[in-house]
């Protein structure tokens, strides 16, 4: 009698346990490994130390990294690297954060440079050991962008590759509009002129856009770091505590940007499913984007495009750089053997050779100056424009990249959709950003 009852409870629990064992139900089609918890190691010689490396899901990066890992493991038979690259970009920070309290997670992680301060604040990263990564060497061998990540007097992460912005233009559209397809606009004024010429309408609807401001893409970076400088402003104070991109000069830059939609009507991010898609599909003549776009553009059928340096104003050249950078987590640092392995791995993936390999696979530029100085790079029709601008690219010291981006998007939308006066909209956005920075610095000495 009781047997019956136990039997049924057993069935029910078996059901639940069956569900328990179900991690990934079917074999993954791609060759991505699932993370296993890192085991503490014994002091046996010939023992293999396993470290975990996490980066976000992006096929070309995964492929290059897999190659690098193979080379690294071959040169270091005592170390095995588990590569977790399954998490989508949008989730990456949250899911790493989630794993932290459970003691699960990477020993070496790749993070967006804008997240660095947040991770350091939470105590998640350990500083790069100075004997292995002397700051003087970093400053000598790596692009100045990296120096922007110095925080509390130390370096916490080091990148393989960096990206900057460039002007993408559709050569066929240029030709059709009577413009020289090999000569993109060099100044902001030319840029405006061209964009008007390249816009086509039919019955009141735009059928071809000259230029569309993609605030949700890179346009906010373009405004914050590049246009403000070209209008004579320094967007951030040297100590990154005061924000100046809401000043009168910055406002002129902002107004210039809003006119594309409010006055010249050369296009909008609302049309054709967004500016990036529009450019890829041949509905947009000019586009400001980062080098990470090259992959998608190269596979777009029938797209004949060129890449140029950003247009200048009053001969002021400026560019915005960003990068994904690698750091060692507190989990990795907890065990001396894993820490040693992690340091070795980190050194390996940030050599000039690694940088060069990265370029080929992903279209990003090497972070190491020697690799970036490769003349082949400057001569490359697509990468050349990015390479030329590296020497004057600046990385932003973000406090909350998502919120800062959204504040500018909202300001831009307020102007073009709700007729708010541009300087007021901008000032409101910068006020919100300043509050974020004030709060951040209050917590940090």
């Amino acid at each position: 009698m009781k047997l019956h009852k136990y039997a049924l409870f057993a069935v029910a629990s078996a059901l639940i346990l069956a569900a328990c064992s179900g991690a990934a139900p079917t074999a993954p089609p791609a060759a991505a490994a699932t993370p296993a918890p890192a085991k503490p190691t014994e002091a046996k010689p010939g023992e293999v130390i396993t470290i975990e490396y996490w980066q976000y899901n992006f096929q070309s990066r995964i492929d290059v990294m897999n190659d690098l890992i193979k080379q690294f493991e071959a040169a270091n038979p005592g170390i095995k690297v588990i590569h977790n690259s399954e998490i989508p970009n949008a989730d990456f920070q949250a899911k790493i954060a989630a794993a932290a309290p459970a003691g699960v997670g990477p020993d070496v992680a790749t993070l967006f440079n804008g997240w660095l301060t947040g991770w350091v604040n939470a105590g998640y990263l350990v500083p790069l050991p100075e004997k292995d990564f002397p700051p003087a060497d970093i400053e000598k061998n790596f692009t100045t962008l990296v120096q922007g990540t110095k925080f509390q007097g130390k370096y916490w992460a080091i990148p393989t590759a960096v990206r900057s912005l460039a002007l993408f233009w559709n050569k066929d559209m240029f030709k059709a509009a009577g413009l020289d397809p090999e000569k993109p606009p060099a100044t902001l004024d030319e840029f405006v002129e061209y964009s008007k010429k390249l816009t086509k309408t039919e019955g009141g609807k735009i059928t071809q856009q000259g230029f569309a401001v993609e605030m949700t893409g890179q346009a906010h970076q373009w405004f914050r770091e590049v246009l403000t400088r070209q209008y004579g402003e320094t967007p951030f104070s040297a100590d990154n505590k005061t924000l100046n991109y809401g000043s009168a000069k910055s406002c002129e830059a902002f107004k210039w940007l809003t006119k594309f939609e409010t006055e010249y009507k050369t296009g909008s991010n609302d049309l054709f499913d967004g500016a990036t898609t529009a450019f890829t599909n041949g509905k947009l003549a000019m586009h400001i984007d980062g080098s990470f776009r090259l992959g998608a553009l190269n596979s777009a059928k029938g797209l004949n495009y060129g890449v140029a340096v950003l247009p200048t104003k009053d001969n002021i050249k400026a560019n915005f750089g960003s990068f994904w950078t690698h750091g060692i987590t507190k989990k990795g640092a907890a065990d001396p053997k894993r820490m040693e392995a992690a340091v070795k791995f980190l050194k390996f993936i940030t050599t000039p050779a690694a940088g060069t390999a990265w370029v080929k696979g992903t279209g990003e530029l090497p972070a190491q100056l020697s690799a970036a100085a490769d003349p082949a790079l400057a001569a490359d029709p697509k990468l050349g424009a990015f390479a030329k601008q590296m020497s004057y690219s600046v990385a932003t010291f973000f406090v909350d990249e998502a919120k800062q981006r959204q504040n500018l998007i909202d300001a831009f939308d307020a102007v073009r959709l709700q007729n708010v006066e541009p300087c007021k909209a901008l000032a409101d956005a910068v006020k919100k950003d300043q509050a974020l920075y004030d709060e951040f610095w209050a917590k940090n000495k």
Binding site: H4, A12, I87
Partner: protein
């Protein structure tokens, strides 16, 4: 609306003019078209070649099944489908059993603390899952349940709504039947499974169907507890056909069609039971 008066008479006797029902048919027909059009659009978009998708046209110029091949063979769609199926099935099996047991006890037993237990379960109805996702998330990652089937289903293995529905259903089971079985020497568990349970099948079916549906379409919790593409369920995976680089509309629409069609077929065949079940939940109010 003239048809309102027609609405009031639920019987066959109709002394009003016959333009009433005709107007009703027309209005209902127009409404039905509005309800169906999005599905039609979804289907036609799934048949369009990617280059045609962004063109302002009603029908595809060159309909193709390429999108279906791509979604089924070159994306993780089959994984997501399987994950959703497993999760929904496990959850429904658990609910079918435990919700019934809970409902049965509250319907047919008296015991000290019954009121408190009842209120506890009732109280859980008022707490929205959105409030619990943060604690669940921390709990789940703490015991390494993230990205597992159990992690996805554990919050819904027993539901208060199901339990209450089953309680109502069991209340209409005559006590005499149960007492007779007791006199016959049957033990309580057997009475539950062999006498009472079979009598509440319609309610059970309704609970199962709703639970399966709810789990299949669940979004916020699976979104939070899964971080790897392999372990995602359908709704989550579908959303990832779009990212900051743009949306693969052809894949999204194809995925949406593929995920809707099976549910639709089941629904069309079982619509009578399903709709009865829905009405049942309304009656309980």
């Amino acid at each position: 609306m003239a048809s309102l008066s027609q609405g009031l008479s639920s019987g066959p006797v109709r002394s009003r003019s016959d333009s009433g029902p005709l107007l009703a048919y027309v209005l209902l027909g127009i409404g039905a078209i509005v309800m169906i059009i999005p599905f039609f659009w979804m289907l036609t978009m799934s048949l369009k070649d990617p280059s045609e998708i962004l063109k302002p046209q009603f029908l595809p110029a060159a309909p193709t099944l390429d999108n279906y091949t791509q979604v089924l063979t070159r994306t993780l769609f089959p994984n997501w489908y399987f994950n959703s199926l497993v999760a929904a099935s496990v959850s429904t099996a658990s609910v079918a059993f435990f919700d019934s047991v809970t409902g049965y006890v509250f319907a047919k037993f008296e015991f000290p603390g019954k009121r408190i237990a009842f209120l506890l379960i009732l109280a859980t109805l008022m707490v929205p899952t959105e409030m619990l996702v943060i604690p669940w998330f921390i709990m789940a990652t703490g015991v390494k349940l993230a990205d597992t089937t159990l992690g996805i289903v554990f919050p819904g293995l027993i539901t208060a709504t199901g339990a209450f529905l089953m309680r109502q259903a069991f209340q209409s089971v005559p006590d005499e039947l149960l007492d007779a079985a007791r006199i016959d020497g049957m033990h309580e568990f057997g009475i539950f499974t062999r006498v009472a349970w079979p009598l509440v099948l319609p309610a059970l079916a309704a609970v199962c169907i709703f639970n399966f549906l709810g789990n299949w379409n669940a979004y916020i919790w699976p979104l939070i507890v899964t971080s790897q593409r392999l372990t995602m369920t359908l709704p989550i995976g579908l959303a990832f056909f779009s990212n900051e680089a743009g949306s693969a509309w052809n894949l999204i629409m194809t995925g949406a069609t593929l995920s809707t069609v099976p549910l639709l077929t089941v629904f069309v065949f079982m619509q009578k039971q399903i709709i009865q079940g829905v009405a049942l939940t309304g009656m309980k109010s």
